[in-house]
Symmetry: C2
Subunit: 341 residues, 2 copies
Amino acid sequence: MVRMQDVAERANVSIATVSFVVNGTKRVSEATRARVESAMTELGFTRNVLARALASRRSRIIALLFPELDTRGNASAMEFVHGASVGAAERDHHLVLWPVANDPAALREYLDGGLVDGVLAMEVQLEDPRVPMLEAAGIPFVLIGRTADPSAYAYADIDFETTAHENLDHLAGLGHERIALVLEHPGALGESAYGPPVRLERAYREWAVAHGATAVVAMTARDPAGGAELAEDLLRDHPDVTAVLIANDEAAPGLLRGIRATGRSVPRDVSVLALGMASRTAALCEPPLVHSAPPGYDLGHAAARALIDLVEDADAEPIRTLLPCVLGEGASVAPVRTTLP
Amino acid sequence: MVRMQDVAERANVSIATVSFVVNGTKRVSEATRARVESAMTELGFTRNVLARALASRRSRIIALLFPELDTRGNASAMEFVHGASVGAAERDHHLVLWPVANDPAALREYLDGGLVDGVLAMEVQLEDPRVPMLEAAGIPFVLIGRTADPSAYAYADIDFETTAHENLDHLAGLGHERIALVLEHPGALGESAYGPPVRLERAYREWAVAHGATAVVAMTARDPAGGAELAEDLLRDHPDVTAVLIANDEAAPGLLRGIRATGRSVPRDVSVLALGMASRTAALCEPPLVHSAPPGYDLGHAAARALIDLVEDADAEPIRTLLPCVLGEGASVAPVRTTLP
DNA sequence: CTGAAAGCGCTTACAG
DNA sequence: CTGAAAGCGCTTACAG
């Protein structure tokens, strides 16, 4: 390995000077700089990340809290991780993965190691125990998702309001007047643990009021069986529903089956739009689902950059990023069928 | 932050002694150890990862080379990453993600930073430019997947031979005698860039020979359109095919559609088994596919541990791990239909 | 069994 | 504009 010392000797300067030209942190005469730079390229010098970290008290490493039980959002989680790692790399930072779920003690341990300058937290719940932990530790952090009251923190999240309204407008534009919303059950984590269903339902009801539409909201488990059951109940109780906006990936295939089981056809009789479903997931369904895909990569990218901004300037205004899902093609949505008398 | 110095002062010992009890690297008298330990817990000491790394010349960080263009294996890639991060954590290591594709120069840069003790490479191609790079750098590495001649390296990979044979036996056990294999086209990367199709075809042909069966191998692009086309061609040219083993996730929905388009039904007329498909992907298809799921988590876990073994003992025999895919339920396979005369 | 001291490869006031 | 030196928080021969 080539050290600064080696470069300094070759260029006939002190290692301080080498450091200054490497970091651009102080004026150096043109002649000296040139000598140092050619010495560096001749020797193939790359400065040691660890030593720099220790001396400067900035590791230039950020952590991504990676939930142990990743039952959720597998598809776009990968894109998110990818975006975060690229975002970090663009800013000359490294991204480490910390497999810690909601265990504040384990997180403490990691933090105390002093390896990272900041933390990215995925799968944020409305009341997330990691948030007070991170605040107490006094380390910069950015949430992916939002807590119930997000006003105090930096975050990057899906813009559920815009997404819901755009998706509903898309269906309404095709003549659909009675559009049902299908969400996931709160599940084991209890009432409204996660923000998305809560925010989506709110946005949906707002839209319904603004458009004079009757709201029909149904919830089901995150599995196909739930989706199938729900389809039958829903179409029996609300036979005038001509479109379903579903925000529950796992239940979607069941919903499609259930609709068929009632003798109806998608999209001829009922249109289905999957909100927050990744494109590759939507393509697997029968028929392929019109969907709005989460901007996983962009969220990860934005979150990493926002975190590094925060690390570099603790007084900076925390950045809050909201990005809508992107409408994608499929064969599950059609203009409403004119009812034959 | 609490430093070793603080602990040493409180326990009335030298920081060397603190280091010895923290690391268990030297005999320390019971009384001294007790004093040091209580001082540590009283102060809440956690040793600084960066300082330890620099002094010991072992960062206890490993890198995962994360392909920029992750078009492939999105579903199990996440599990793999998860397994690797847990495997590393269990051995007191950190995992960093390096978003570098097949760019040896970029990899060099990262390596020269001296941050990591070893490297995990995903999406290994049969002739992978990263391998000679890593060898030249003299850094321990483990491949996920195998090069054409894997005998020289440590790797963790799917056991395609066992998987193919098990999957074929499963179908044969249900009476299927003419089983087609569907693979992916080599694509832009050229002939047999990746190992899986090559290894699967070989295993399939072996099995066919051993069972006196006629081999039917078809290839198609990684998209639904290709799958649909292929189904029609395949069933026209080989009408006696009663089962399809498909190792091409993206083409699977198209294959199902294509089979239906010929007037046949899955699984009544044709059984379909998806080799190497993640369970959550298989559940989305219509009908849900009987599949064999890649052991992503276990591979990642094994690879990380194998790498750390290698780091800790460079002379250790490189560990080679092969794990088969695990058969999972679905509704796309049935006993062969007895032909009515 | 324990400690004083050198050293890991950098950064950064401080002085000149 | 440049350098000598202290220091980041540890580990690890070396001595006793």
